[in-house]
Assembly symmetry: C2
Homo-oligomer: 240 residues x 2
């Protein structure tokens, strides 16, 4: 059976302007691969409501799961929750269980749960909260969309609480072989290998080190015996 | 006048599987900001022809420029050029000027210009070549799409030869202020500031250092006097 599929939506002006370098996409990609969910598409959009709504709808229809990062803090540019509610055509308001989490946290830290912070308890109707063990303000899941914070430590913690609940498939297995020949000389045998193993993904990544050209070849697939068979044939062909 | 807009398309299984961390997006974002072109959307797709064709068409219609990275090497999974030709409904074949570049390079290095390497001279009809001072095999521009390599050193060199030819707008100016108060306490004045300066982008980025919570506030815009005015008001309000 094919693995479940997923997309990611990265939300934030600061990513698109180059001020901040996104690191959540790379983290998510690795975690999904280990969990047996195939990441098929990533989109990055600014903090603009129509852009978020359009991307959420397109990705939510096309793939089994959507993971978003960014735009769920207390400030005016944190509009993700409202955009998600619009994308799903549901209402949104401050929810009691989310407010209780924030109240307990701010009581403990002696800070004021003001109007701005209370925005973080705005949750689309029908959503389920995602725990935030780092800074309390929760994420949420609605439909097949998992809405998480952009701060990497919080994103990672939220993902760790979401992933175990999702049904994964076979993890993607990979084997790699480093060959000290330039990519252009291994391309023909690789193309034959890809033709004979259509169920595997066979990638080649050229490198240049100490004046010599080499190629890393990576064979990926969900069936370990097929990956083994392809790698054995490749190693044999590259020796000759 | 509004700045020109742009999108980026990152192509490659290795990015989506988490094996490789993309760095071209962050580089492009910074260069475009300096050049006065607004990056509005990024998509990342696997080495699959329908995914590339669909994304190229959507982005090319929506934005002034599209910059792609990845999938133009000599191996079987390098299908970007063919997918771009399909997206634009044009033919593709080995082009004499591109072949001449490769012939000269391989003659000099003593390597064989075999069939696989010759694939790198396949250029969609009507495209203009993009110079590759690093490893010779060219990129190309067709319509409003600039097709470049995924290897970061090559991507950066190609971008450096494309960008000066494009008409930019006003570079995005930014000023930032670090405040040692948590984000939830500055959210209300920030929202008022954003309302009074609708032409500026005002972002806040919380941090946690040495047990204290702080916020970096960044004001961005194309008109320096407006950015100055907003920053002066912010600084005044944050003192009181």
């Amino acid at each position: 059976m094919a693995n479940p599929t997923a997309a990611m939506l990265v939300i934030g002006d600061e990513i698109l302007s180059g001020r901040t370098r996104d690191s959540n996409m790379h983290h998510l990609a690795g975690e999904l691969t280990r969990h047996g969910i195939d990441l098929k598409e990533v989109r990055m959009v600014p903090d603009e409501r129509p852009a978020i709504v359009g991307a959420v709808r397109a990705l939510s229809e096309a793939w089994d799961h959507v993971f978003s990062s960014g735009g769920i803090g207390p400030t005016h540019d944190d509009i993700t929750a409202d955009a998600i509610a619009e994308a799903f055509g549901v209402g949104i308001g401050v929810r009691d269980d989310a407010r209780a989490l924030l109240e307990a946290h701010y009581a403990e830290t002696g800070l004021d749960l003001n109007e701005a912070r209370l925005r973080m308890a705005r949750i689309p109707d029908g959503a389920e909260l995602i725990e935030n063990p780092v800074s309390v303000a929760p994420g949420f899941t609605i439909g097949n969309v998992h809405v998480m914070a952009g701060v990497p430590a919080v994103f990672q913690a939220m993902l760790a609480s979401v992933l175990p609940k999702l049904t994964g498939g076979a993890p993607l297995l990979s084997q790699s072989l480093q060959i000290m020949r330039p990519e252009g000389e291994v391309a023909t045998p690789l193309a034959r290998l890809a033709r004979d193993f259509p169920d595997l993904s066979i990638g080649s990544y050229p490198f240049h080190k100490d004046g010599a050209f080499g190629t890393n070849i990576v064979i990926r697939g969900h069936d370990g015996t097929r990956v083994d068979a392809a790698m054995m044939r490749l190693a044999r062909e590259m020796q000759s």
